[in-house]
């Protein structure tokens, strides 16, 4: 069991980060904390992708022109997907934070429960 854990420690970390992020989205009353949780969820998935690219005793995918045939490199494809996803993730964060600022201007609170009360009173 311990050996299996040591063999796949990044997958375990991926599962933990994903679940902690989801917990923050579901259980936090504060809207900003929900966005932070969403970001943590994302980085967990990025860790999964980067791990699938990783090879033991390899090197990063910078391949010199005179590369030997037997050299091992990390796969560039998952890394490219993660690069794109990081940038799209920050765009998502920007829009959700803009919405949060507007919600605060309109209702004067960022607490989910208070927000619900204020909205039913209207």
């Amino acid at each position: 069991m311990i050996g299996a854990l040591a063999d796949s420690y990044t997958y375990v970390l991926f599962a933990i980060l994903m679940v902690v992020g989801l917990y923050m989205v579901a259980a936090s009353a504060n809207l900003v904390k929900k966005v932070v949780g969403l970001n943590m969820f994302q980085t967990g998935i990025f860790l999964f992708f980067v791990t699938t690219a990783y090879v033991d005793n390899g090197s990063s995918p910078v391949i010199p022109a005179e590369a030997a045939a037997g050299d091992r490199y990390a796969s560039p494809l998952p890394q490219v997907i993660v690069l794109t996803a990081i940038v799209v993730g920050v765009a998502l964060t920007a829009v959700s934070l803009a919405l949060i600022v507007r919600i605060y201007d309109e209702y004067g609170t960022l607490n989910e429960a208070t927000l619900r009360e204020v909205r039913t009173d209207e």
Partner: protein, 181 residues
């Protein structure tokens, strides 16, 4: 040595993640989350992904933290009565069960970290990029070659997403007002 480094990173990321979830003060959450992002950047660098690590350090730890802090300055932060957030027990039970299911499934079905024979290490596709990236594009960094060369249209689409996000943020914040003439 590298095992020790990996273990230290694992513990650092885990502790900062759990602290982020447990702290009550939003400013403290943002600061600890920035430290977490930096730990993740180190982890990506350790896993042979320097490009991802640089992007995460600049965008995850930099831009995201900046955006979160800007949001905090535009909203009122109430001084919290206590440091630690109360734990939502039903949610915790559901997500703990989810975590156990995930970890058991992963441990039973996934090849070891860094196993060169893993099924998704599809040699036909991966080896093609590794062998031909330099000849096709003249760039030694295969990640750059794929990002800007082979998948250039994808990156263009990403730029469109960022543009759309910028425009919609401005509209939501009423920095741009459309008037009917």
């Amino acid at each position: 040595m590298s095992e020790l480094f990996a273990a230290a990173l694992f513990v650092f990321v885990l502790v900062t993640a759990v602290t982020t979830a447990l702290l009550r003060d939003v400013l403290a959450v943002v600061v600890v989350f920035a430290a977490y992002s930096l730990g993740m950047a180190l982890f990506y660098a350790f896993l042979l992904a320097p490009d991802v690590a640089m992007t995460e350090a600049a965008i995850g730890a930099g831009v995201t933290t900046l955006l979160l802090l800007l949001t905090l300055t535009k909203t009122n932060r109430t001084r919290p009565d206590r440091w630690i957030e109360g734990v939502d027990l039903p949610a915790l039970a559901v997500f703990a069960a989810l975590l156990i299911v995930l970890v058991v499934t992963l441990l039973n079905s996934i090849p070891a970290v860094g196993d060169p024979g893993a099924a998704w290490n599809n040699p036909g596709v991966t080896q093609y990029y590794i062998e031909n990236a330099y000849d096709d594009t003249g760039v030694e960094n295969a990640v750059t070659a794929v990002l800007a060369g082979y998948r250039g249209f994808d990156t263009f689409g990403e730029a469109v997403v960022v543009f759309a996000a910028g425009i919609s943020s401005l509209i939501v914040l009423r920095q741009v007002v459309f008037t009917r003439e």
